[in-house]
Symmetry: C2
Subunit: 333 residues, 2 copies
């Protein structure tokens, strides 16, 4: 299995450079997104335009377009679908920020902070339904079916996660299942659509889906790590909400697995009472080298993503797809 | 234009009797709904099953199936789509109850009361995405496109409504536009799908869509009337939330249009302060005969629904469709 972690840190500019081979098409899909997210009613228009700014990395459309390019040519269908997956991602962000009581996202006020929770519920719904409509403008039902299924699995994962808050006995396996559902399924879906609409063989559609799935798991492990150990000003969004919500993510599960007896009980009590859980957590993260543990785990999935593409013929887009897992692991935002 | 209001009151049993010609098919679509809304994870399963119980009247699937039967034969596609429109309606109910801080629906705890707002946001999303997936299992993209568009218009209407809370200058025309979007578009969609998948001509698809649209507007006017003038124990859900949220619905707009000077100012202040707005409203409703005004307005749309079907050949299902507007107006629940 290939190793992708080499210890260097990567910046947002690095990501921009990675997207260079699909720069034109990413801009085109962005234009579709912005054209679609207009509304004749000023109050609605204001909200959907704002929501549209909240996504940042454009990872899902990039995965879709890079997959298409790796296999051949990016078509008009790909551009539409790239806008669709980003719109779905934005819908989940808008609703996630309600769940997390987050006030900051990509250095901007979240929708719930700018308006309120009610308006954010509806804005997320608006984005979800519009993305489904946009997917249905394609000729075949494949995109609708794939997207409908993947987004349903995303919601299932989110529901499982919210219902497992407070459950400090959650096993690592179940944590991994949950993040696979809530994050990796949409990444897998993006790659799957990229491949399918490039007329790839069934085998290659599965290969790319597997790539996206593993990349998504690695991505979410790092996201969960950043939430407890990241720097709010560089990440650009509200952090620490996982601990506040007593969400059993990997860093917490690792710390808990290292603690025994009174120390464990006291830590759990601190988390439940919401007193100084975050401070104690930081010291434990260091003591048990939980950061390294999480990075290593993320690296397993990043390496699997790379391995999935092992048989692929070399081209510019393929090379970027092989580099993306490294970015995902070393990002600080 | 036909008159549908005759002053008699109707009960839930009356509605059941109206559905008699599609009894078997309504049960079959209910079975699809319940089969689809199972999940292998206990915590998710518990929530989706519960959500499934919250719908009551099954108006949208009934409209779809009655339309199909009026035009010919109910097919397997109709049964699936009937489950889809009910699932979408349930998703909107789950999210509406968050917006309204409602605790009671169909004599049961709402999801937000039983769990919390966060879980309800996700449950609504789960239902939305599952309904889109289910729609995509049909052969053509027509259902996905029609449903995607209609649900997006529903969200647009809800967003316009929430952004118009506090706006006591809202015109009746804009109120009607909003309820057409948030309620009537899904009723129109149900009828449209019923007709299209019965291989109806384009003309008939439009005729039935027009029927559903007008029926939906009448339905929502009555819903808004019940919220300020209904009896919570017979309606079976939290009432009075529109006034609390300062939502400019027809009864309120009518009262406001009758008030001038100090009286108007004092009433608006009472609403804004949330003091005794509901009590004052009740006395004004009586003084200005606002109930009669709303019923008359609803009757205009109910009559239009009946007129839309004027050229239809007579059969059992058609006769029920012609009676439904009357039920919608006279319901007390």
């Amino acid at each position: 299995m290939s190793q992708v972690v080499n210890g260097t840190d990567v910046s947002p500019d690095h990501l921009k450079a990675l997207y260079a081979p699909i720069d034109v098409e990413l801009t085109q899909s962005e234009e579709i997104l912005q054209r679609e997210l207009r509304n004749e009613h000023a109050a609605v228009d204001e909200m959907v335009r704002y929501g549209c700014l909240l996504g940042g990395k454009r990872l899902r459309p990039a995965l879709l377009l890079l997959t298409a390019k790796a296999l051949g040519v990016i078509t008009a269908d790909h551009l539409t679908l790239a806008a669709v997956v980003e719109m779905i991602h934005t819908a989940t962000l808008v609703h996630d920020d309600i769940l997390d009581d987050a006030v900051l996202r990509r250095h901007m006020d979240t929708c719930n902070a700018r308006w309120d929770n009610e308006a954010s519920v509806l804005l997320g719904d608006y984005l979800f339904t519009h993305s489904f409509y946009l997917a249905s403008t394609l000729d075949s039902t494949y995109a609708c079916r794939t997207i409908g299924k993947a987004t349903n699995v995303v919601c299932e994962g989110e529901l499982r996660q919210i219902r497992s808050c407070n459950n400090f006995e959650l096993g690592e396996e179940e944590y991994l299942e949950i993040i696979e559902a809530k994050t990796a399924s949409l990444c897998a879906c993006a790659c799957r659509l990229g491949a399918y609409y490039a007329d790839a063989s069934t085998e290659y559609v599965e290969v790319f889906s597997e790539y996206g799935r593993n990349l998504g798991i690695a991505f979410q492990i790092i996201d969960d790590l950043l939430d407890v150990a990241g720097n709010e000003s560089s990440v650009g969004k509200s952090l620490g909400t996982d601990l506040e919500k007593q969400k059993p993510t990997l860093p917490l599960l690792h710390v808990l697995s290292c603690l025994k007896g009174t120390e464990r009980t006291e830590f759990v009590n601190a988390l439940v009472e919401g007193s100084n859980g975050h401070e104690i957590m930081k010291s434990y993260l260091q003591r048990f080298q939980s950061r390294a543990y999480c990075l290593e785990k993320a690296n397993v999935y990043a390496s699997r993503a790379v391995s999935a593409l092992a048989d692929l013929s070399d081209n510019e887009a393929t090379r970027i797809l092989l580099q993306l897992p490294e970015f995902v692991i070393h990002r600080s935002h």
